[in-house]
């Protein structure tokens, strides 16, 4: 019998206690609010300061981007990818380290490496990418990276990249017509000599 009434008593007190807590939240809604009005307010970038100049230092995982002018075609990123979403095809450059204006090929990277390869195909299937960041570490030229992050002045934070067609999610970074242009260039060269 005593248990009967203590049960009723604990029911009332605990439920009222819970209602008190929710009421505090109710009246403090303005201060406690944690949500954002999404299309107007974007999720802020986390404050990450690693303590040195970090123009290329990237931790934010949004979509992959490749600086083709710096890519030397070493295939390290392709090998690092656990889901095989990167596909690179390279051709031997006729002359190591020299620009080929016809196909907008830049011979020397910003790090000063002279390129021996011309990348004719650099496709990344973003629909398969698992955002593991593994491809960005082995890159000797730091030319493949995730956009956003500390260098977002160059590449703004973007996590909305929906596409109406799946094929649009295969990003083709190699400059269009590189293969044909290169063949033509080599043909002309051999014709000259």
């Amino acid at each position: 019998m005593i248990k009967y009434f203590t049960d009723i008593w604990t029911s009332i007190t605990t439920i009222l206690g819970g209602m008190g807590i929710t009421f505090i939240h109710l009246i403090r809604a303005r201060q406690d609010n944690v949500t954002l009005q999404y299309p107007e307010e974007r999720w802020p970038r986390p404050e990450r300061n690693i303590g040195f100049d970090h123009d290329n230092y990237n931790v934010i995982r949004t979509r992959l981007h490749v600086d083709m002018d710096d890519c030397i075609g070493c295939l390290k990123c392709e090998r690092a990818c656990p889901v095989d979403c990167i596909k690179i095809v390279t051709e031997k450059a006729p002359e190591r380290g020299s620009d080929i204006k016809e196909i907008k090929h830049v011979g020397v990277t910003t790090n000063g490496t002279r390129k021996a390869m011309v990348v004719t195909r650099f496709d990344i299937d973003m629909s398969e990418c698992c955002y593991c960041n593994l491809c960005t570490y082995p890159c000797p030229e730091e030319c493949i990276f995730m956009t956003g992050g500390p260098n977002s002045s160059r590449h703004p934070l973007d996590y909305e990249f929906s596409e109406p067609d799946r094929d649009n999610l295969i990003y083709k970074f190699a400059k269009s017509g590189t293969k044909e242009g290169l063949d033509k260039y080599i043909g002309e060269k051999s014709a000259e000599s």
């Binding site: 596909k87 496709d123 299937d125 094929d167 295969i170």
Partner: protein, 305 residues
């Protein structure tokens, strides 16, 4: 044993099957009552099976007897081997039972490799030593590794069960005695492996399938690994699902992935893959099906290669 129910509930259910529902309804404890009722529902589907299973459970003494007799025959063999080692081959040849005779001879060949050790283990005197001075044994056992301890202990009960010489990392067990060995591992007061941590299969170069059991004792805090090899053509291993209940799902998974058949498993179905999946995916020679239910499985995505 089989359904893991309390004896009390089993008794209640058995009495209820005979028509005595009052004993269940009179139960005070709500938990037990509902459990008993649930068990009754299950049991009523096939009362005969339930009775057989659970009354068999209580008469488990019979099984023990059987193992004792086999133990006796092993002792007999050991006796003969000892005689043989001393040069008395006649007594072995005089054994009438052909099976025993061949067993003795096989054991003798093995024993001749290291006759001293065999004598040490199997001479009646040594056995009694182990039994009498258990505290001393414990001290020794503490120094040696748990695998070695299991091996040494098992020789008396299951001679020839541990197949590998070097037991630093694991114990290779003879599949035919695995079920009894598992019960012994779980119940022996020196071992008490009450928890099966992990069970998995291996495909060794497409010829041998191996099941590995990682055992752990929650009370003794020691750990061992047991391996069992079977040929890939006829992969059959006794199920230990009734020893460690989790082996139920682990063995189903191993069956699912490797096709190792666990005999006496009550419900050996595929667990992760659909029932009608073809092949055993984690075998090294597995090839992906061409179609599944008429859907062609793409090897490479379109527009990629």
């Amino acid at each position: 044993m089989s359904s893991g129910l309390d004896n009390k509930i089993i008794e209640l259910v058995l009495s209820a099957l005979d028509g005595n529902m009052d004993s269940i309804n009179a139960l005070e404890d709500r938990v037990v009552r509902s459990k008993a009722k649930a068990a009754l529902f299950k049991a009523k589907k096939d009362p005969g099976k339930f009775r057989a299973e659970n009354t068999g459970d209580r008469s488990g003494a019979d099984e023990v007897k059987e193992t004792v007799t086999s133990d006796d025959s092993q002792k007999l063999i050991a006796n003969f081997v000892l005689k043989g080692l001393d040069g008395d081959m006649d007594s072995i040849n005089a054994i009438e039972d052909r099976v025993t005779r061949s067993k003795v001879k096989a054991a003798l060949v093995k024993a001749k490799k290291s006759p001293d050790e065999y004598k040490k283990i199997h001479s009646p005197k040594a056995v009694s030593d182990v039994a009498s001075s258990s505290s001393e044994v414990k001290k020794i056992v503490h120094e040696e590794s748990i695998n070695l301890k299991i091996k040494n202990l098992s020789v008396a009960k299951f001679p020839g069960s541990v197949l590998n010489e070097n037991v630093d990392d694991f114990l290779m067990i003879n599949p035919s005695i695995w079920y009894d060995f598992a019960i012994w591992l779980k119940t022996d007061s020196n071992l008490l492996f009450d928890s099966l941590q992990c069970q998995t299969g291996f495909d060794i170069d497409g010829k041998i399938l191996e099941a590995r059991y990682n055992l752990h004792s929650m009370s003794k805090k020691h750990y061992t690994e047991v391996r069992i090899q079977v040929p890939i053509e006829n992969p059959k291993i006794p199920s230990v699902e009734s020893v460690w209940r989790i082996a139920d799902w682990f063995e189903r998974e191993t069956y699912d992935m490797f096709g190792i058949e666990f005999s006496n498993h009550r419900d050996l179905r595929r667990i992760l893959l659909p029932e009608d999946w073809e092949g055993w995916p984690l075998r090294k020679n597995y090839e992906v099906q061409e179609t599944y239910h008429g859907i062609v499985i793409p090897k490479m995505k379109e527009g990629w290669e």
